[in-house]
């Protein structure tokens, strides 16, 4: 049955059959990372074109010198066209007879680690590009690291530009042998390696005659068949309450999107922070009550008992989510203004927002070497592990186990910028603040806004710097 634009014989097209087929399609979100030279845009253009995700008028705009320049299909904003590179996350949509796809297309340059993290956050699969003619670069390693950091469950490693190395099987095997152990170190054990030429179309949609030695599947075949939903549904039930629905005195429901797991009427649930337990009475939707609901559906629950639940609360079943004000988390720093332990932040986690403070930066991870380095701050595009304390308890699971309850963003209270993305590692001991951090906060209370203090790491030296600063203020007062 034809299901793509442009090739349909309408006289023989059965729309009812088409709609039945469409309704059974599921959705896969995936991301690509690669630099300008890796041929990432060409690969995407090729997928869009061969899967008929691009419309003809877009194709017309992408013709240069009589041939389609696939990379032009995915370039977006004006400034980027001028620079000739993509510098933000662009979302692309296409479908095949088997599945619908949302592609988060992200740039590969080092300074745009944050965009890569953004694209990876919602992805269930990542395509990482290696250049067969250049070998493994630090950039490919960085992409793999970020994909693993953001917990993308499936990875395809596309070894591109095989046409430039005469489709040599040995080169492909050597790159795979080199890269696979690195992925294993990152905790990625199921990466799927495919030798391709995005430019020529080899092994992108169809298997290529140029590489008869390859006995695997094409990139598109993997995209169409990989199963990505199980982990989320098999995790314990979690739903953050977005809103209490109370149209009249007879109805009180809790609206939210199921972050993980399955729920049925009669199931016992726990509400946090109250710690009260009750049973699910109904799963209410506009289309009627449900007998069972699972992630990621948006539902409204009613409970058998009147218990106090409001926005920001967590309803769960099975093993309890951890509850702690202090957490250890890996963060990707997004903001031009570096992390400042003395600054006020807000943490947004699930459906709650709470004032928060970064107690300490434990170490920074060099995204190119994966080495840990001791630091006191994180700058834009840097990744590090921090200890963070919120004004109220957060109800969470480790991000590795549950992306829905393990993720948060950090907002700068003064500028409202999204300062960082965080992935919870575990609850942290409520550590004592260092003298330097405490002083820095005290000073901020008296020093005019905008003044910056660069405090040394050593508490004693920091105390001396602050003492001098305070003396200066008193002299002027």
């Amino acid at each position: 049955m034809p299901a793509v634009a442009g090739v349909v014989d309408l006289t023989r097209f059965d729309v009812e059959e088409f709609l039945r087929g469409e309704e059974s399609k599921d959705l896969l979100r995936f991301t690509t990372a690669g630099s300008v030279d890796d041929g990432k845009s060409t690969l995407i253009g090729r997928l869009l074109h061969d899967a008929k995700g691009a419309y003809e008028d877009q194709l017309k705009q992408a013709i240069r010198g009589g041939e389609i320049d696939f990379s032009l299909l995915t370039d977006g904003l004006r400034a980027e066209r001028e620079q000739g590179i993509t510098i933000d996350v662009a979302y692309r949509y296409f479908s095949t007879p088997k599945r619908k796809f949302i592609l988060a297309d992200t740039p590969g340059h080092e300074q745009y680690t944050r965009n890569m993290a953004t694209g990876a956050s919602t992805a269930e699969l990542a395509i990482i590009l290696l250049d067969a003619s250049r070998g493994i670069t630090t950039q490919s390693m960085r992409h793999a690291y970020i994909a693993s950091l953001l917990g993308i469950p499936h990875i395809i490693v596309a070894v591109n530009k095989m046409d430039l190395v005469n489709y040599d099987q040995e080169i492909f095997q050597r790159l795979r042998a080199e890269f696979a152990p690195f992925l294993t170190r990152l905790g990625v054990n199921n990466a799927y390696f495919v030798p391709i030429s995005a430019l020529k179309g080899d092994n992108v949609v169809d298997l290529s005659k140029n590489m008869p030695w390859f006995d695997g599947h094409s990139v598109l075949h993997q995209l169409e068949t990989v199963n990505t939903k199980l982990a989320t549904v098999e995790a314990p039930f979690r739903m953050a309450v977005q809103r209490v629905v109370r149209p009249d005195m007879t109805f009180r429901g809790y609206a939210g999107q199921i972050l993980s797991g399955v729920i049925r009427p009669g199931d016992e649930v726990l509400a946090q922070p109250s710690g009260r337990r009750s049973r699910v009475e109904r799963i209410v939707t506009y289309d009627g009550d449900l007998k069972v609901a699972h992630a990621p559906l948006s539902i409204t629950l009613t409970l058998a008992d009147e218990i106090d639940i409001s926005r920001g609360d967590m309803i769960s079943a099975g093993p309890e989510p951890a509850s702690s004000r202090s957490i250890e988390a890996t963060m990707v720093w997004f903001n031009a203004q570096p992390l400042d332990p003395a600054r006020h932040y807000l943490v947004k986690h699930a459906s709650q927002m709470a004032p928060a403070r970064v107690e300490a930066v434990e170490y920074r991870i060099d995204v190119n070497t994966l080495h840990a380095e001791p630091v006191t701050s994180l700058a834009m595009n840097e990744v590090g592990v921090v200890r963070l304390t919120a004004a109220r308890p957060l109800f969470f699971d480790p991000y590795r186990e549950n992306r829905g309850t393990g993720a948060f963003i950090l907002i700068d209270r003064q500028t409202n910028a999204t300062a960082a993305a965080g992935m919870i590692v575990a609850a942290a001991e409520t550590g004592l603040e260092s003298a330097a951090d405490r002083l820095a906060r005290l000073v901020r209370a008296v020093v005019p806004q905008g003044a910056h203090l660069n405090l040394p790491d050593e508490d004693e030296e920091a105390v001396a710097v602050v003492r001098d600063a305070l003396k200066g203020i008193l002299r002027h007062a």
Binding site: L10, A79, K229, V233, Y286
Partner: protein
């Protein structure tokens, strides 16, 4: 046990989450209601998000006065049937001065009657969040639009300075006078919208269905001459043909297409066969290279 859900269920779940989040975190949300098919879907999603409660925000329609009559009738009927308050905003001053696309050109006309009227309407209601039905697949510059699109105190969009958006966690912090535009249909495609309308039996403006009409063919455009300013010139004459609208806008600037599609399945079949993306029939996108991006920077949706 199969835990797969269809793409439409996944998109719906995401949209409900967005709509609930905005209604809970903002003081004065409003839903831009443009009467088109995307607005129809957005309205249904709003009903679902708060069921069995009512939609907790008003609808705002920016009326250029050049909309099709059938659109306005449909608008009033829908607002009444979902029980939402409808607010209409127009740039009356510009209209009194005779603003129309032929005199001003589409770019200036849109600027006055759409962008300005929208900004005025948002300011008058002091709205801090406005839902819009735009989709990322509509046009290249929209592919990078956020779900929460931050606007400064003048309502302007800065493509270089967008907030990163991760997972389903949205940053709702703004200062007084600032606002956000919210796009709950960001991840829907045109095909998803039509399939959802079909699956959910959502009412849409009858002009989407092909019927015999008196039309004016001018260049590549098929114009439905409802207004004084779209009457045939002396050298033109009206023709009868079966046409429908692929997207709804102002009658002078939104062309019809020849079509036999008078039912939803036929529209979907036509879409499957379509070789041109939907906005091709709208004059305004082709003003100049990247024109949609320019309009957005100025505050257009």
């Amino acid at each position: 046990m199969a835990w797969d859900i269809s793409h439409l269920q996944a998109l719906e779940a995401e949209s409900l989450h967005i709509i609930r989040e905005v209604a809970s975190e903002f003081q004065r949300p409003v839903m831009l209601y443009s009467i088109g098919k995307d607005s129809s879907v957005m309205l249904r999603l709003a009903q679902k998000a708060f069921y069995p409660g009512p939609i907790p925000f008003p609808l705002l329609h920016v009326d250029t006065s050049y909309k099709f009559k059938e659109m306005i009738e449909f608008r009033d009927k829908m607002a009444a049937s979902v029980g939402a308050r409808l607010i209409v905003s127009s740039n009356q001053k510009a209209l009194d001065e005779g603003a129309n696309p032929f005199r001003l050109g589409t770019e200036r006309c849109c600027g006055l009657l759409k962008t300005q009227a929208l900004l005025d309407g948002l300011r008058a209601g002091n709205y801090d969040a406005a839902f819009g039905g735009a989709r990322r697949d509509e046009e290249k510059s929209r592919a990078k639009e956020r779900v929460y699109s931050f606007r400064d105190t003048l309502g302007q969009w800065d493509p270089k300075n967008q907030r990163p958006e991760l997972w389903n966690i949205y940053n709702s912090r703004i200062e007084p006078g600032e606002s956000i535009r919210v796009f709950p249909l960001s991840n829907w495609t045109e095909m998803d919208v039509w399939q959802y309308i079909h699956h959910e039996d959502i009412p849409i403006v009858p002009m989407y269905f092909a019927q015999e009409r008196e039309v004016l063919v001018r260049g590549n455009s098929i114009i439905i001459p409802e207004l004084a300013i779209t009457q045939p010139r002396p050298d033109e004459k009206l023709q009868r043909m079966k046409v429908r609208m692929r997207s709804l806008g102002c009658s002078p600037c939104t062309g019809a297409i020849r079509s036999e599609a008078d039912t939803l399945p036929k529209i979907i079949a036509e879409l499957v066969a379509a070789k041109n993306s939907e906005r091709e029939n709208r004059v305004i996108d082709h003003d100049r290279e990247g024109s949609m991006e320019l309009k957005k920077r100025e505050g257009y949706f």
